[in-house]
Symmetry: none
Subunit: 249 residues, 2 copies
């Protein structure tokens, strides 16, 4: 699914942003980058440095003259936009974009483009009107200028989330023996041992319970103890009991 | 809610990453930045330039020497981590962190810290074991090294999402004193007391730690102890210590 999501950058000015975009994409498993009329040389020392190991995406980027060319084969085109425009367009949150992707990409020929505008002025109205929908990343209204690569990062992250949650979960993973939860019976043995020990060291008087055991139960059960953890706790109780003074009876 | 979420960067090497972190935070409405033992000068031309208008967060950042100081007043501490460690810890996705925030921050004194490690080596095991939970940003397994500011961007984005979608909290309900969560500092006092006691009763040999304290930390932190519960546990330790044999020295 991820290989059929294209990131399109229009009129980018800073090579560093192209490199950082490549890094953000590769981190999230995206690989298809198109640059529309970049206003800088895409492959520079800075873009390669900021790509930080993902510069193969910069080298493989398709450079075209118009948005039309970049998205010609796409079945869904979503443009990143600051909030409301004169003519309201279907507006999605990044999460809603992610939520739509699995259904949008069922067909093998389907392609989705996520389109990002210029660092200084975003997408033009003409470009936005070529998109099926707009996506707005909710930001602090007092400081809404997201860095271009940061905006790509957020959308790419939502793409990967959507992909991860749409894949059937891998159920073959063996259980770590460390992580076997204690059974109810094991827990009750532990609580009996705990109470016995607290009585022995003089901390607890069952005649004046004051909800002590109830509080310790609530605390312990909240943690959902694993078997190995209970074994450690019982080991501590055993050592403690050895130190307790002999009983009167 | 957002003003009570702290971003903690440990051992950052590049001023540009501090600036870009400030920008990502301010974009999403976060303002509380702490730097633990930075390995660079935080306020430089590069950090101010990358902050791109959010450099007031860099100037206001608290610089401290240890993670302890940075999160002493925090009621929930979440450390960013690459996937599995030797000792598995409760692992959250960025979305799960966001989902938990509204409930975690109901109390006015509650504070959440999101802790990020060094660019080259992340957080140490000791640092991770001071956290209640870990957060892993799902990335391409072949290229998982997220830029530091990009990782902050993703988490800050989820914080803002959670805030935007959360219901206004009911603030009329008086706090039950029984339910005040223990702070980080209180927890660390407890762990120090616990370790001292386990040594005194001969259960624990710090020369052969065998992950004992790590396992007890994990268990305890998972339960999110309330202050009153910690008081009970410390009371038990105090009684136990009285029974321990005198030390040789």
């Amino acid at each position: 699914m991820l290989e059929r999501i294209r990131i399109v950058l229009i009129g980018t000015s800073h090579p560093g942003n192209i490199g950082a975009t490549a890094r953000a994409m590769h981190n999230m498993g995206l690989a298809d980058l198109s640059l529309v009329a970049p206003r800088c040389e895409p492959i520079t020392a800075e873009s390669v440095s900021r790509a930080s190991g993902a510069d193969h995406l910069v080298h493989a980027a398709r450079v075209v003259g118009t948005l039309e060319e970049a998205v010609a084969d796409c079945t869904l085109t979503v443009g990143a936009s600051a909030r409301s425009r004169t003519l309201p367009w279907p507006m999605l949150s990044p999460r809603e974009v992610g939520d739509r992707l699995p259904a949008e990409l069922v067909e093998p020929d389907a392609r989705v483009a996520l389109v990002f505008g210029r660092e200084d002025s975003g997408l033009t109205n003409a470009e936005l009107q070529r998109c099926h929908a707009h996506v707005h990343i909710p930001t602090n209204p007092d400081f809404s200028s997201l860095n271009l690569a940061a905006a790509v990062q957020v959308l790419a992250y939502e793409c990967r989330q959507a992909w991860l949650t749409s894949e059937p979960a891998d159920t073959d993973e063996p259980t770590n023996p460390d992580q076997v939860l204690a059974s109810h019976a094991e827990l009750e043995h532990y609580f009996a041992h705990l109470e016995r020990t607290l009585v022995a060291i003089g901390f607890h008087d069952p005649a004046k319970p004051r909800q002590l055991m109830a509080r310790l139960r609530r605390f312990t059960l909240r943690a959902r103890p694993e078997r190995m953890e209970l074994n450690i706790l019982r080991g501590i109780l055993t050592e403690t009991e050895k130190l307790a003074p002999p009983r009167d009876d």
